[in-house]
């Protein structure tokens, strides 16, 4: 599968950049024939991934870098969110619904990423960082690819 378009953005790990990230991805994704619900799902998934990088990866240190890469394929969209933060010790535990290290948070970040993408891959090395890769089928070609 070869990407027909790609963009990468790096930004500081500040909370205000969560909205920038999701709007940027939604704008880029609109090159595909996304429905409005699909765009909403993409925005939530990006918010969760970037939010996790800032809160958990960098523990709210604001001078770190989050790297966001978006690739457009004929069948859909791939979104990669990378941080060089503290990493996740136990990925299976972190991905469990309602698991959170913070009582004010719902532990739904990975649940939404899973629900709103067709494939989710989380790679993490404690002390080195985390990479979250999501792929979402879009449009008629996407629906056919998903069915196959």
């Amino acid at each position: 599968m070869k990407a027909v378009n790609c963009c990468s953005i790096e930004f500081h790990s500040i909370a205000e950049n969560v909205s920038f990230a999701r709007v940027a991805v939604a704008a880029f994704a609109s090159q595909l024939d996304c429905t409005l619900p699909e765009l909403e799902e993409i925005k939530v998934a990006v918010s969760e991934a970037v939010g996790n990088a800032i809160i958990h990866g960098y523990r709210k240190q604001t001078d770190k870098t989050v790297r966001l890469t978006v690739k457009i394929y004929k069948e859909g969209l791939e979104i990669i969110v990378e941080d060089s933060g503290q990493g996740i010790d136990d990925i299976d535990l972190a991905m469990q619904p309602a698991y959170s290290t913070d009582p004010e948070r719902m532990g739904l970040g990975f649940v939404f990423m899973q629900s709103f993408s067709d494939r989710l891959r989380v790679e993490s090395t404690p002390g080195l960082g985390t990479t979250v890769t999501m792929f979402k089928h879009i449009g008629i070609r996407g629906a056919k690819a998903r069915a196959n």
């Binding site: 909205s19 999701r22 409005l36």
Partner: protein, 116 residues
């Protein structure tokens, strides 16, 4: 007006009506949590009515603020009541399970009628 700002806070007896607007995400969660708690702590509020009709986006950070206020009020017989969520916001509220534990109404009048 900043996104996620509570543009209006109105108190009626032991009920606080908050009209939120914009995106409820990590960028506004801390500020909203602090502002809401200031009102809840100083005015002996039992019922928090959150008008979400002008909220355009919510993620788990925004949901966390709502759930946190629910956890704060329910041990004392209080409630968080959600009003007028747009379809895309309502869907996230439903998926999270918040709609199952909180009352929701189409408009403020209906919500207020239930508690006054």
């Amino acid at each position: 007006m900043l996104a996620g700002d509570a543009d209006r806070y109105r108190t009626k007896m032991d009920a606080l009506l908050v009209r939120l607007s914009g995106d409820l995400d990590l960028g506004v969660a801390d500020k909203l949590r602090i502002t809401l708690d200031e009102h809840l702590n100083t005015k002996k509020i039992k019922y928090l009515i959150m008008n979400l009709s002008r909220v355009t986006f919510v993620d788990s950070s925004g949901l966390g603020v709502i759930l946190g206020r629910y956890k704060k009020l329910t041990p004392f017989g209080g409630k968080v009541i959600l009003v007028g969520a747009q379809p895309q916001v309502k869907r996230i509220l439903e998926l999270s399970g918040l709609m199952q534990i909180m009352e929701s109404y189409l408009d403020e009048a209906n919500a207020l009628a239930k508690i006054v």
